[in-house]
Every structure is written in C-alpha cells, then in structure tokens.
Symmetry: C2
Subunit: 481 residues, 2 copies
C-alpha cells in the first residue's frame, strides 16, 4: 500500500527531523469519476421500431433509446444508459439531502410483518403490499415504505431531546403490487425511491423539518431541470395533517391540476439558504404554496374561483414527490419517546418525505423531448457531450475525434463517442433519440477548415468553431451548473 509507506515515512521523518516532508497535496489529482464511452464498446440497444406496448412518450423513448427492458409486468431492468441517468439523479438527491443536514442510511427491502403489526398497517395495507413467507414460515414483506422500520431504529437508539432534531433518509428499491402497472417506470411495481423521516421534539420543530424538505425538494427538482409545483395534497392512508405533493406539468400526467398561473413564474434559483433558519424556510414555504395549486383530490371550486379568471389554469401533472407531517401517529403506536428535558417523556413528532427517483426519469422525458427523441437537461444527462464522427476510418476525422474524446475526459467530462462504422444518418438518429444536450460533429470538410460543429439538441442551433473552442464552450456550460 503506497499510502501506508508514505504515512509511515511522514510520521517517522517528522519524529527524526521535526519538519514536514513535502509531498505536494493536490486535490485535483484525486481519481476522477468521469466515464467516457465509445459506442463500439457500449451496450446501447436502440430500437428501430416503435414499441407497441408503450402508451406514453417517456415509456416509448426509454425503450427505444435502450434505457430499460421489461423483466416482468411493472418490473424493469435498467440498461446502461438508463442506469447512468438513474445514478445521476440519485447523486443529486443525495447532495441536496446532505446540504439540508439530512443523514443517509439504508434499510433492507425485506422486512418483518411483526413491525408492521405494531402500527396496524400490516392488515390495513391491502393487496399492494407484497407479502412473503420465508423458509421458516415467518411472515415478511417487501417494503413499500419504511415508517415502521425507521421508527424502530429511532426508538432503539434515541432517548433524549438533546439528540434532536434528526432526519434520516434512504434511497432504496420499493415494491407496490399495482393491479395495473403501466407507463413504464412511471407506474411500475418495483421502483427506486428516496424516503426520508424527521424526528422532532415539537410540532413546531417538525414543521420546520417539513419546510426544510420543501426547500431541498425545490432545489433538487430545479437541478434536474424540472419545475415541480408543490400542491396541497390529500393525506391518504398514511394519515397526516400537512402534506404537499410536487407535480410536474405534463399532458400525460395522471392527475388533473388546478392552479394560479403566477405559480409557474416562481423559481428557487441560485439563492442561498440557511437550512437552520426557521423563518427563512417558512418564507419559502409561503412563497411557493400561498397561491392556489391543487390536484383533483383536494380541488375546491369555490376557492379556485377567487383566482382572477385569466390566471386560472387547468392542466395535468405528474407527481414526483410528496412531503408529510403526521405528528405522533407512529411514535405513539410504537413507543418512540424521548426525555423532554423537563422530566417528562413525550412521543416524537414525525413526518415522511419522498421523491420518486426512478419515476423521475419518466417525468423528465415527458417534460423534455421532441419528435426525434429525448432532450436531457444538462444536470442529468447520461453523457455530457456526444462526438459524432461523420467518416469513421478517415485518418484526420478519427484523430480529431480521439483528441476531443481525450480532452473532454481529462477535463472531467463524459463524452460518448460514436466511433462505429455506420452511415451518418443512423448516427444522427441515435444521438437525437438518446438526447445528449450537446453534440460535436466532426467531418472531413470541417477538419480541412480547422473547425468542428457544435449543436444544441434543444434548439437545433449549430455553430462551427475550432475544436479547442468547442471544448472550452462545453466545459463552461457544465461548470456553470
């Protein structure tokens, strides 16, 4: 182990000489995680035909772009391109949760029925719960959500108000045995979800946790390139007092939504926020939830009619997250009590807060595509830039592409290089379908003139420039994220 030798050397020499051995530390030397890829070595099974089973565009494009393959009804394998986007979304969710001070754990998928009997949900949950008997005949289940297990973790380890506030979350596979799974990953049975749980001494603290989640979710969705509108929601079977759903407007949304058009002008943007500042978080909640915005489940026609007519909008939306405050429902049932610092023991106030990570891929595509394929927002694109060689085998074109590939990789970006011996039309079709936001096209005529072509997938605009400028430009776009 190199580091052991160095560490030993450093310690020893300091002992002997009393001064620090100079090994230049350089954070930029740390291993980069950029994974560039050549199409000839990738597994990208782009389909030529339109899959018949797909009723909505995101499902169709995810199949056509070789992102997913159905394994069973409502259960999908994530092929390389799909998995890469899934991980990018997961990373952003983790980063934003860490920023909010929430702490990552991982709970198992298979849980004991006994725990769910404590809350009364084992019998109440119904057929959507996948129930399992293990070899010893014990009743188990595949977790559809994890209030019981996280409460069990809490009550085993936390006994004092001094250890509060605390928010634990995970990103883990869940299962809900839908009667009619459909729309690909939008309404699958096995799905990847972020579920977070706050534990607080008082309702006031718990509502601050609620607000923290609202803020972190606004940031998360904007980084994913989405506008997700918090709408007053129905608490449903989980129970709860305060709850909002986050909806992305899209024609194919499963919910009808009613809102004041002013709400779509709101952006969280680049503003700084101190997540410990209760007033600041409350102000964000008020800013983003004071205007009328409800799904059909909570819609109130009389209230809606108070919105000026020109601002009253009716549309459809895709639910991509939900936040709940449900008080002491689980802490009472399961005995999650803490010393309150005044000689008493009180049940903690809780909430649970979810983001549908796998579903988000569908939502992003519903919100961002055209008739040629997907258009990934820069924040989640599987590769930062496509390099399209118009004449593979041509020495100058090959060399220019290899150089771009190497330089993007060295800059910490991930290029996808179409180095295949295919006709240009097929290469353009594939690039358009898989939706990388930026493409560099390298052809013999351009190379003679010392330029390559940079194309924006969203606008279709194309500009010729020297390769070095193209690299600088793409770098600048991602550095500004």
């Amino acid at each position: 182990m190199k580091y052991q030798a160095i560490a030993a050397h450093l310690l020893k020499s300091e002992r002997l000489r009393g001064s620090l051995v100079q090994i230049k530390p350089d954070a930029t030397d740390f291993p980069k995680k950029a994974n560039p890829m050549r199409m000839s070595r990738y597994f990208l099974p782009v389909l030529k035909e339109t899959p018949r089973e797909a009723q909505i565009v995101s499902h169709r494009y995810m199949l056509q772009a070789g992102m997913i393959k159905q394994a069973s009804a409502g259960i999908y394998s994530w092929l390389p391109l799909g998995f890469k986007v899934l991980r990018k979304i997961e990373d952003i969710v983790h980063e934003e949760q860490a920023r909010a001070g929430h702490i990552a754990i991982q709970m198992p998928t298979i849980q004991s029925a006994d725990l769910w009997r404590e809350s009364g949900r084992y019998d109440a949950y119904g057929d959507e719960m996948l129930r399992i008997k293990d070899r010893g005949g014990r009743e188990m289940l595949f977790t559809p959500t994890a209030e019981e297990l996280v409460t069990d973790i809490f009550r085993a380890h936390v006994t004092s108000y001094k250890d509060l506030p605390l928010t634990l979350y995970q990103i883990q596979w869940k299962f809900r045995d839908e009667v009619r799974p459909r729309f690909g990953v939008m309404r699958g049975r096995e799905f990847y979800m972020k579920d977070g749980y706050n534990f607080d001494l008082t309702k006031e603290d718990a509502l601050h946790a609620y607000n923290r989640h609202l803020v972190s979710y606004l940031r998360t969705y904007e980084r994913l390139g989405l506008q997700a509108i918090p709408m007053r929601a129905d608490s449903g079977p989980i129970g709860g007092d305060d709850t909002h759903e986050f909806l992305v407007l899209a024609e194919t949304g499963e919910s009808e939504v009613f809102y004041d058009s002013e709400i779509t002008d709101l952006k969280f943007g680049d503003r700084e926020i101190d997540y410990d500042d209760k007033a600041a978080c409350q102000a964000v909640l008020e800013e983003f939830t004071s205007r009328y915005a409800r799904t059909d489940e909570t819609h109130d026609e009389a209230l809606f009619n108070e919105v000026p007519e020109t601002r009253r909008k009716v549309a459809r939306g895709i639910e991509v997250g939900q936040i709940f405050y449900f008080g002491t429902k689980y802490s009472d049932a399961m005995g999650a009590m803490v010393d309150d610092g005044k000689g008493g023991k009180v049940p903690v106030h809780m909430g649970s807060h979810g983001i549908g990570v796998s579903r988000l891929l569908g939502a992003i595509i519903e919100a961002s595509h055209d008739d040629k394929g997907i258009i990934w927002p820069e924040g989640v694109t599987p590769f930062h830039v496509g390099i399209l060689n118009m004449r593979s085998g041509d020495e100058a074109c090959d060399a220019a592409c290899e150089d771009l590939y190497a330089k993007f990789t060295a800059a910490g970006l991930e290029p996808l290089y179409d180095d295949r011996d295919e006709r240009a039309g097929a290469k353009f079709g594939t690039m358009d379908m898989i939706g990388l936001p930026w493409r560099i096209t390298v052809g013999p005529r351009g190379i003679k003139n010392g330029v390559v072509e940079v194309t924006c997938r969203r606008t279709g605009e194309a500009v010729e420039m020297p390769a070095a400028d193209a690299i600088a430009k793409i770098q600048a776009i991602y550095a500004a994220l």
Copy 2:
C-alpha cells in the same frame, strides 16, 4: 436555469460576433461531494456494552460503532456510518469495473419464476431461494443471482459477434434464505453484491474476460486495503469449469485454506495494465494462481506436499469474491446465440463474477482492527480524519477546530468533528471504536503553543505540528492513494 441562459447566450453571441464568449471553465468549480460532519448533528449510536449476540469481532464492532442494526434474522439496516463505508466500497468497485471496460446495469430484485424454469434452476435451487407469489398468483422470487435475467437481456438485443465482447454487471441487493444466518453482514440473508456476466464468441475470449475480472478484482481488493488471494474453487451448483475464489486471511474465516507462503508476497500494486492485452492479463493470472492455494473444498494433500515444507501454510480465510467460466450452460439452455461471422449461429461463452460488497465490510474489519475498535484502511474510511476538541466551549479550541473543519472540507476531504460537550475520555473511546485512520486532537495547551496533535490510528504514533502542516500532511496521504 442558469445553464440555459448561458448556453443560449453563448450560441447567440457567437452567431452575432463570431467569437467565443469567455467564461472561464474550471473543473475544480464543479460541486464537491465531500460531506463533512459534526458529531452533534450526526446519528452515531455507539454502544457502551458488548453486544452478546455477536460471535466474531467484525459483527461486534459494527454493532458497537453504530454501523448496523439488525432488522430481522440475517437482515440489517445500515446506519449512517455503515452506509457511508458501503457506498465507498461500491464506488471503488464501480471505478475498477469501468476501468476494465465492464458496463453497469441494474436488474430488479423481484424476478419471474418462468425465466428460472428455462435454465432449470427454479426447481433445483432449493430452500435458499425466497419464493414469492404476487397478487395475481404469479410465481416470483427475490434474486439470489442473475444469470437467467442477464442472459434474457442479452438474447433480446444482441445477435452478432460484432457486438462482442460484452460484460454487463450490477451492484444490487440479493437474498439467500440461509438456514442459520450469522456473523452479522458476513452471512446475512439480504446482502449487497456485485455480479458481472461476460458474453464472448469463443472460449478463448471468455477466458480473457475471466482474466480481466481477476485483474480488476486484485486491484479492487488492494484499493480496499485487503490482500485477497485467488484460490482454486469448487464450481458448486452454478456449474463451471474454471473458477477461483478470492479469500482474505483471517482467524475467523469460514474456510480452512492451504497455501504456499510465497503467495502472500504478491502485490498487484501500481502497475499499469491494458485490459485489452490478452497476454498481459494471462500473465497476471499465472503469476497469482500458479502457486498452491486452495480451500478445504478443493484441497489436494499430495499436491500440497510438493510445496517445500517451510512454505506450507494452513490458515483460515473469508471468501470475498469468486470468478467463474461456465461456457455455454445458460446460452444453450436459453438460446442466447449470435452470428459467428461465418454464416453460423453459436451459443455465447459466458462467465459470472461476484464481489460480496456488504460482506466486505466484515472482512475488512476482521483483517484490520485492534482491541479498541476498527482501523479503516484509507481507501474506505467513512471520514478521512477525525477532529477531536478536548475542550468544547473553549473559545480558542473551538475556533481552531472550526478552522480545521472548514479547511479540510474546502480541500475535498471529509472530516468528522467531535464537537460534543463530552469528556475527553468518551471522545477518544468513540474515535478509536469507529476507526478513522487519522485523528487531529485540539487542546488548550497545544493551541497556546501553536500546535495540534496528529495521531495515526493504526500505530498510535502521535506528532505535534502546526494546524496548517497537519492539513497538508493528511491531504498528502489521501492524494497518494
């Protein structure tokens, strides 16, 4: 969206002015993933008592250090410290697989029994398979491994030798319904595993894939701080011709191992390898497998006795990985055929290759601990450095600790700062138990003299130096990894 504005601006201004707008690209501005942590805000439920149920040291320390909590027999929740190490191991596995040219996918945990009937394993697998009926009465199972599903993906999309070689892998939760789960994560029922599958045209190509896996596994284990010895293995129920297990020597290992002591001198080290170079990969295989090294399952006393007596070692080992070449077993059964380029159709040659990701935490602790607790290798430590404030509340100590905390974070490292109002003894005990390799102790006397103390967890050596030197030194250690 900031990037959209910038992108639009860049394109527009180039159109108008024909030159690149200068926005300085700087890869170091990209968001850093370092997650520093203050103990007062962390969830680190260190146990004072020795847990009675733990029979081996890794299980005991993982419970004591608040890394895991049992949810059901053989099923664990990963608490923050445990999850952080799990992710670090996962990241290293991903990096080394990417380096070898293997491509990440994600398969679902719940699979259809029908697919497993095609290979004949649904009936053959026995009681270790967790069998499930969904609400429609369909027979499903929780995947213990994924040869069938990955072969199904392959046959659906690949038809030509031109798309080979191909290796797909995933890191995913698996379930094996052990009769007697024990030893914590070392022999759990739900476990996290990397499983990779190669698809090749010929046996020769498949054996190259086998060698690539061997090389990538050697690199992976060394980066984790482990020496894992490839030993000739028994092919077991999966079937196969060539197979090696990777074993970490440890007194608590479940296997008895017999080896030539020369083998423990071998290191893969920093050498460069071209994974496309068949001869180079074959040479590594020969170097690491030509000496006698077998588990009790394949031990051959007569062969062993040919090793010079002073080099014959008998010890115990923990299995942390296995590579298999099994030829056309699944491709024949499931019809995974490709055009061979000569007008024929042939079944692909396959192998499967696994690393026990969650089990590795146990193996690392078995191999690296003392009587005070865990000693993490630098490659997988949950935090890079502990900052121990000997007198929380003292203005100078608090300021010095805050400064260290901010500077480590800015350098892209993850400090864990014990800022709690606890006595020094308890703080030292916790730091020793959780095993961060480097600790900086800040006390009032040192601060007066302008120094802090840097302690190596492994050797216990402590050196005083100015805070700036301590930061440079810790940075240098991690930069050298």
